[in-house]
Symmetry: C2
Subunit: 499 residues, 2 copies
Amino acid sequence: MLPFSSLIIINRKVGTPVYLQVANQLITLIRKGNIQPGSKLPASREMAEILQLHRKTVVAAYDELVSQDWAQTNPRRGITVSNELPLTKPRNFNTSSQAIGYSSKKSPGISSFPDILTSVPSGQRFRLSINDGYPDHRIAPTELLLREYKSLIIQSKRKKFSGAADPAGIYSLREVLAGFVSETRGLRLSAANVMITRGAQMSIYLASQLLVKPGSVVLAGDPNYHLADVTFKTSGARLVRVPVDENGMDIDWVSNYCSKQRPDLIYIIPHHHHPTTVTLTAARRMALLNLVVKYQIPVIEDDYDFDFHYSSSPILPLASSDHDGLVIYIGSLTKSLSPGFRVGYMIGAESFIQNASKFRRLIDIRGDHVLEEALAYLFEKGDMQRHLKKSVKLYHQRRDVFAALLTSMLGDRISFKTPSGGLAFWVRFAKQFPLPEISSLAAVAGLQMSDGLYYNSEKTNYNGLRMGFASMNEKEMRESMGIVQHILYQFKPAQVLRK
Amino acid sequence: MLPFSSLIIINRKVGTPVYLQVANQLITLIRKGNIQPGSKLPASREMAEILQLHRKTVVAAYDELVSQDWAQTNPRRGITVSNELPLTKPRNFNTSSQAIGYSSKKSPGISSFPDILTSVPSGQRFRLSINDGYPDHRIAPTELLLREYKSLIIQSKRKKFSGAADPAGIYSLREVLAGFVSETRGLRLSAANVMITRGAQMSIYLASQLLVKPGSVVLAGDPNYHLADVTFKTSGARLVRVPVDENGMDIDWVSNYCSKQRPDLIYIIPHHHHPTTVTLTAARRMALLNLVVKYQIPVIEDDYDFDFHYSSSPILPLASSDHDGLVIYIGSLTKSLSPGFRVGYMIGAESFIQNASKFRRLIDIRGDHVLEEALAYLFEKGDMQRHLKKSVKLYHQRRDVFAALLTSMLGDRISFKTPSGGLAFWVRFAKQFPLPEISSLAAVAGLQMSDGLYYNSEKTNYNGLRMGFASMNEKEMRESMGIVQHILYQFKPAQVLRK
């Protein structure tokens, strides 16, 4: 008999139940050929003694083997390893060539994608991180969400789901969001005007695929949200840059442009513009709406940050007025939860939402409908609204602390305006502190921060970055800011030396 | 004082805690104006008596109001409703026009998307459903997955996540899948060759966006997986149809084509071709691989069904041989879990995976990394492998039952071959039973089944559909089949009458 007591090792500290550990190790022995097909295993009583386990544990392990077809029970012979092993070994079709597969780094036949894409974040882990404007995942109502999720899963196991699922998302969440958006943003709409997406970025992508054709002229801010720029360019757009000042996009400039040529699309971020955090004023919204209706120009209104206002109240979106169905409105729930839960919504005329849903099937079939239904419950019970209110209160405090720290610790080496809402500051560094160098030095000190290149336009180096404050508590803010302060105050002498 | 005892109603049967019910209803009264800003609320002891609740419950409700800024506590005055209500009402910018928004169904300025898209499934609910080949969500290891998920969420709340996340997916799952794929499919690869997607469809979409340009020639089967066809067409491909017989795609035909013109891409489904369920033979794989390397043609190998084999063992994929990095290999975990959990993977040369990851950011930023990490644990513990084995055993039985029922109940009115693997039969109905009519009649009887149009090519009306057997137990199979049988046996006289 095999020396099972030394071959099978039980580790009581890992989460795996002991019977499964026994079964798994027996399977490994069978697969390796140490235990031959057709051979008899020790009786459960005997094996229990060998392994110093309760007999019931061994019986459970043997049951597992049988249920997986690795072994059979036989009234007379006891338990024997199957003659035909259940793991069907794949057949090789290729006897001649030596497999190399993916060992080569490059694929000669496949040309690489055009170089308009943003870099993929590095896998490096940092002790501290100043992000772009994320919520604090530590305060997210994840336990509530998981509780709903679990109870829905248990329910679903009792019934047979209808096979087909709507790529526009689960109806209950579309309905709940129609109500939420109408109450908070004054839009008049029904569930048929709403589709659920995996977040604002998917909404922008879908809208771009439907509205932009090669050669289309798209008006966007200078600067603008980088991934939106890339998305439009990927659809073949020619981007025309509209100046952005402290009152948002310059609508006189847009008016002037439209009088010469009708653009095919306008992309706006009405609240806390990305990256600059400015808000489009009421007067400019009015003027833009008139242009849109006059020239019949589709608009993507990316209002990802609407739910976060502190010092002043938000202004209603364009989509709340009469716009001939031209305004596609984009919102996000990711900012209210945690960056991991990617759920957002897009609002438009029914025909547009139907087409966007069809297109969504091509890229993603559909979302996680159980998660969507769980979210709908959280809205219905008021949990989401409650969480939003608490977040706004907390982020309001954090914004004020962060502004005070920026002033006291970084002083005139930077410039910024405190935003009226949103989850980030737009901070420009003085010219003598180039951000690529500052961020490399910060990385060495354990702080991840942007090198600012992401926020530049073709024309301008802003030497600025978004500093997300919402995800940090005061201690983390002080630590991160301390690192930046130290770098800025050490930096000057180094430059002087270089000269 | 307001008649709180009649205004605030407690329902002990719902999940919401009583203190929250009290707080929510007080908030509603404040918002409606029934309770005025600045007014005093009854002391907790008094309110507890009015509502017949424990005083601590009322204190908790009041704490909730204060934490949400709806009320303040004041050492002398007790609890008073805030003067400035925390709900910042959005400002209207538009005083002149009457809002209409999305009430109109059409958006005149937005042209609709080209009509190459498949229909969106209707929201109708059915008692029974014959799907396309879904797994049975009732046997999915969802409890295990949720347990891991929850413990990861709890861990994550204790630490600060690094902000940036890799759109290629969480590293641990990429690593685990590299091992799984190498063990089961003989591919030689590392984690850098693997990216996580939301399922096979997202993989097809990303590969198509990177490999297909307007005018590119794509070889695909006739018939072929409909959504892949649409995806390639959306990228501007010209589809060239390759005949498919019982041994899979006709590779002699491909060879003949290539000798005249080099196609830009070949799309194959090597196991259980969609819709016909045939498997590409070893000899044809060999021949195809030679063509691919000779002419340097990129291939998408969509092996979504590899893990489900019953009567014969699978054949290794093209990707397991030396292919100069030309083969993009696509796999799915959705089929092993439940249609709701959309997780799949794509394998390719490192440079290809990097580009595909960049593109993925545009459509979806990234996946649910907590779910991905939870799945990695299930693989590491062997739970996924165990679940797969059990599913294969169950689906093997179900396939045999389904085949027997098809023969005994529908007889010569249909034709089919029992597939060696996968989750569906390809069943063609005799010409005198047109599927659009059969499926309408089935819908009336409460059975959802395809009208077959989805599986047709431009050239051929197959009058066939995929009948997924894996998600049905024997009772459900008998009921569904009974409905189809009844329709087929009633159908003939009706046709005669019409003449």
